[in-house]
């Protein structure tokens, strides 16, 4: 026991905060219980009076609670971007709800939510891809949410049909090409990258990465398992080097001349273009963005999004938080600061994103990507794409 104690002071603040936010609620339930017990002896009228009295009392208490001690919201997030810190601050300013963020990889966060179960302090989970949101839903750590605002602001393919999660921002996984050595007219579809003419000219990162897994899942959904495997095999054979590094490293490899095209996410190019490092800005200037499959199903997109955890103690605040992130202002901030597309792509306001042109997005429901994730990982293994 003494092993655990010395650390308690470090987390005390977090726990204390949580209690403050929910004190009113807990007391209220306890009182309702008493009412229930009383009513058991039969006094329907008294029960009605008491209940309505308590309800108004509760409303007052909640109001008082908000104005006296600010409510709090505990968020588990995989997003480690500057845009989020800015938006969280803005949310606290507008609503008075303080946000405690715990950042880790989505896999760890989901494992954590599972093992914490009902006692989890988390109210909301944010991840950077639909696959993990789907996995969280399957693990039973998210709860369905009904919100008209969310339903209106998040298009149907970008959210879970049952409301367990909602997309907040969109990123497209595109083909980035060397402006010197490749004409955009040479490019057409993801499938075309499997052709022999691209031998030794393609780079992409490891298949351990969720973005690649989701891309292959979308190809499985569109073309079937066998064709998807053949595609992964052929693209792996066409690679200029074995998969390594981050998405940014793929752009660097193309700019340096190691390869001619890379498969990568759009917003990484935005980060490079706005980097403080001159070499990174040069990389961004040397490469172009190509949205594939425009004559067919559209370019593969994925969302970064979130949901309310099954154990949420501050469900109302969590929903309000998700609604805040989908508000027009927040959506614009995601674009300007982190170069992500708004969840309604055509509402994009960022000049940089506009410069890449508008595009048609694959409208497969993103929960399909999650459902086919495990299959995609296996196909990558079979294809030798490490």
């Amino acid at each position: 026991m003494f092993l655990v104690e010395p650390y308690s002071f470090l987390t005390a603040r977090l726990w204390h905060g949580r209690c403050c936010g929910t004190t009113a609620l807990v007391n209220q339930n306890w009182m309702l219980d008493i009412v229930e017990t009383v009513s058991h002896f039969g006094e329907p009228l008294a029960r009605f009076v008491m209940k309505s009295f308590l309800k108004s009392f509760f409303a007052l208490g909640l109001l008082a609670g908000v104005s006296v001690s600010a409510a709090e919201l505990n968020v588990y997030s995989h997003r480690h971007y500057d845009s989020d810190a800015i938006l969280f601050k803005q949310f606290t300013k507008e609503t008075g709800i303080k946000i405690n963020v715990v950042k880790a990889s989505a896999d760890q966060l989901i494992q954590r939510l599972i093992s914490e179960g009902k006692n989890s302090p988390a109210d909301a989970l944010l991840t950077v891809d639909a696959g993990r949101l789907h996995r969280a839903k399957a693990a039973g750590v998210l709860q369905p949410v009904k919100s008209r605002a969310l339903a209106k602001k998040v298009p149907a393919p970008m959210r879970d049909p049952e409301g367990h999660w909602f997309g907040m921002t969109v990123r497209s996984r595109v083909i980035v090409y060397s402006k010197d050595r490749v004409k955009p007219s040479d490019l057409s579809t993801y499938e075309a990258l499997a052709k022999p003419e691209w031998k030794g000219r393609v780079v992409a990162r490891s298949s351990s990465n969720i973005y690649n897994q989701s891309l292959l899942a979308s190809i499985i959904a569109a073309n079937g398992k066998d064709k998807a495997l053949a595609w992964a095999k052929a693209v792996r054979k066409n690679m200029a080097r074995s998969p390594r590094g981050s998405d940014r490293d793929q752009a660097r490899a193309v700019a340096a001349g190691l390869a001619d095209v890379a498969i990568m996410n759009t917003y990484y190019l935005g980060i490079l273009a706005n980097s403080a490092v001159a070499a990174d800005r040069e990389v961004a200037a040397k490469v172009g963005v190509f949205f594939p499959n425009q004559d067919g199903r559209g370019a593969h997109i994925n969302v970064s999004g979130g949901g309310v955890t099954a154990s949420a103690k501050n469900k109302k605040e969590a929903i309000r938080f998700l609604e805040f992130l989908t508000s027009a202002k927040s959506q614009e901030a995601f674009g300007n600061v982190n170069h992500e597309y708004p969840v309604i792509i055509k509402n994009n306001k960022s000049e940089l994103l506009k410069s890449w042109g508008s595009f048609k997005a694959d409208d497969v429901n993103l929960s399909v990507l999650g459902a086919k994730n495990a299959e995609a990982v296996k196909l990558f293994d079979l294809a030798g794409w490490e």
């Binding site: 092993l3 655990v4 010395p6 650390y7 470090l10 987390t11 480690h80 715990v102 880790a104 990889s105 896999d107 760890q108 954590r112 093992s115 914490e116 996995r135 031998k199 030794g200 000219r201 490891s206 351990s208 969720i210 897994q213 690679m239 200029a240 080097r241 074995s242 998969p243 390594r244 590094g245 981050s246 940014r248 660097r252 490899a253 340096a256 001349g257 190691l258 495990a374 990982v377 296996k378 293994d381 079979l382 030798g384 490490e386």
Partner: protein
């Protein structure tokens, strides 16, 4: 043959009877149980070598060969390079005289303070430096040649980085072996007309071989344990495979099966090491020999010797440390804040707990085996200290398994608790504390314990009034070693840390993984500075026998 076997069986049985009749008491029973408990996670993992796993056939047919190949190439390359660096420098420092020898003698050990993953981050762009060469090959030879070159270069680069910080294991044991070698042997070789070269190849090296094999074994264990460096350079190995199978595929059973394969590989290597030593222990000779007359080197040769010693020192310590310090000087302001203090406290707190717990356990186990002369406890002790040879990722998997079973049967949630993390450290590093304590007891306390016993002192009194005071230095050293190893530890901490619980090593890893390597230099430097303390202590300790 049959009679021989029956004879052995009878012999064993007699021993067992004796053990039960005379040596069964509260001490030995609890030591037995503790030893077995500490071995349990490893046994659990090994058990999964044959248990069914849904994705196993898929893993075996697709990726197992790749992991095996990657691990074997890394192990062979790192072992060979470590021997080259370690033995050559040890010979020069121990048996030759040249300017700067005294400084190199202790400086060559410094790379030991840099964990493999931090070395990889310090050299994070080593592969990128090859880009111009690769582009030249692509344009002038062929894209296929570039692909081949680029894919094969991953191995030498990783091997160089690993060997540059792991060679001191070989250097330390080889230097001690050369220094302790009976000068009579070497002088006899000289009188018989052998020059320095043939003395080295025909006398010194064969005599030092058992020690060198032991050092190489440590290098191999560390190589197989590494996760951060192979992850960074994208080398497919068992550890990366375990993490990928578990986290990307969400398949714990498959990951366990991989861990079991790795564990089997380690056991095979341990047996091989025993066999390579032909059962010989580290070479020991009487300490009373005259000091060794070192070969004096001429000017040209002395220059070469200095270069030879400078090379590993620069690659393994000076360069990485100065690069990290350079980055840290820019990023210290950005990284040093309240949360950094918290994770430093986390590191120190958990390492202190692990150090204390490990020392207490090791003392108890070693003492019980020695005081009661119990062979059974001795055997379970050997099982318990096996954890040092087993990669952290494997132990973590074992603990997860056991914790799952505990939760199912008793309802206690062990996963993600600090208790489970500390237990894992104890299992992983028990040998680090057990070794010095046990050998200290053998040297200093054996006779005294018997004397105390004949004078009527009981086991507890003998422990606290004789062994603990006499072994004070060994105990402190043991605690210090475990403390530092815990602070450096990465893979086990990554899996078992309580949520939201960051240490210096996990922060270094996380930052590096998010392509923020310059920022990661600050926690990395903290780890290196802490690790330097016992390295310096170890150095003094290894030198004393020389006088």
């Amino acid at each position: 043959m049959a009679a021989y076997l029956i004879n052995i069986a009878q012999h064993r049985l007699r021993h067992l009877k004796q053990e039960i009749r005379f040596k069964l008491n509260a001490w030995t029973i609890s030591a037995l149980i503790l030893g077995l408990i500490l071995f349990l996670p490893m046994a659990e993992v090994l058990w999964h070598l044959t248990s069914p796993a849904e994705n196993w056939e898929h893993l075996r047919d697709t990726v197992l060969g790749r992991y095996l190949k990657g691990s074997v190439i890394l192990v062979l390359g790192t072992a060979v390079l470590s021997v080259l660096l370690g033995v050559s420098t040890a010979w020069l420092v121990a048996c030759c005289e040249f300017p700067g020898r005294k400084i190199f003698e202790w400086a060559l050990i410094l790379p030991l303070a840099i964990p493999t993953y931090i070395a990889a981050y310090a050299y994070f762009d080593l592969l990128d430096q090859l880009t111009p060469l690769l582009i030249w090959v692509r344009l002038n030879i062929s894209p296929e040649a570039m692909t081949l070159l680029s894919d094969t270069m991953v191995y030498p680069v990783t091997i160089v980085v690993l060997a540059a910080v792991l060679y001191p294991y070989v250097y330390l044991v080889a230097r001690a072996a050369f220094a302790r070698q009976s000068s009579q042997c070497i002088e006899a070789a000289r009188t018989l007309g052998h020059g320095p070269q043939s003395t080295f190849w025909r006398v010194a090296l064969p005599l030092a071989r058992p020690a060198i094999v032991g050092g190489v074994a440590l290098v191999i264990m560390e190589t197989l344990n590494d996760y951060g460096a192979v992850e960074h350079f994208n080398v497919p190995t068992f550890t990366t495979g375990i993490f990928r199978t578990w986290l990307s595929m969400g398949d714990l059973q498959g990951a366990l099966r991989l861990a079991a394969c790795l564990m089997a590989l380690i056991l095979f290597l341990l047996v091989l090491e025993k066999w390579l030593r032909f059962g010989a222990r580290f070479h020991k000779s009487s300490q009373a020999d005259r000091p060794f007359q070192r070969y004096a080197l001429g000017q040209a040769k002395a220059g070469l010797a200095i270069l030879c010693c400078l090379l590993p020192l620069v690659i393994g310590f000076v360069l990485p440390l100065s690069r990290l310090a350079y980055w840290a000087s820019f990023n210290a302001g950005k990284v040093l804040d309240a949360s950094f203090l918290k994770l430093t406290l986390n590191s120190v707190g958990v390492a202190t707990a692990a150090g204390l717990a490990t020392v207490v356990l090791a003392l108890f186990l070693a003492y019980t085996a020695r005081y009661f002369g119990s062979r059974t406890v001795g055997a379970t002790n050997r099982l318990a200290i096996l954890g040092y040879a087993v990669p952290g990722a494997v132990i973590a998997m074992g603990i997860l398994l056991i914790a799952g079973q505990v939760t199912r049967t008793t309802g206690w949630v062990l996963t993600g608790s600090l208790a489970a993390l500390v237990l894992a450290y104890v299992i992983r590093f028990l040998a680090v504390a057990w070794q010095p304590i046990d050998s200290g007891m053998e040297r200093n306390c054996a006779q005294l314990n018997n004397a105390a016993r004949s004078l009527g002192a009981n086991a507890a009194r003998s422990l606290f009034q004789i062994n603990v005071p006499l072994l004070r230095n060994a105990l402190v050293a043991a605690g210090l070693f475990v403390f530092v190893d815990t602070i450096k530890e990465l893979p086990l901490t990554l899996v078992l840390r309580p949520f939201d619980f960051e240490t210096l090593s996990t922060r270094t890893f996380d930052l590096a993984k998010q392509a923020q390597i310059p920022e990661s230099s600050v926690p990395a430097l903290c780890i290196i500075l802490v690790s330097l303390l016992p390295v310096i202590w170890l150095n003094r300790q290894m030198r004393t026998p020389e006088k």
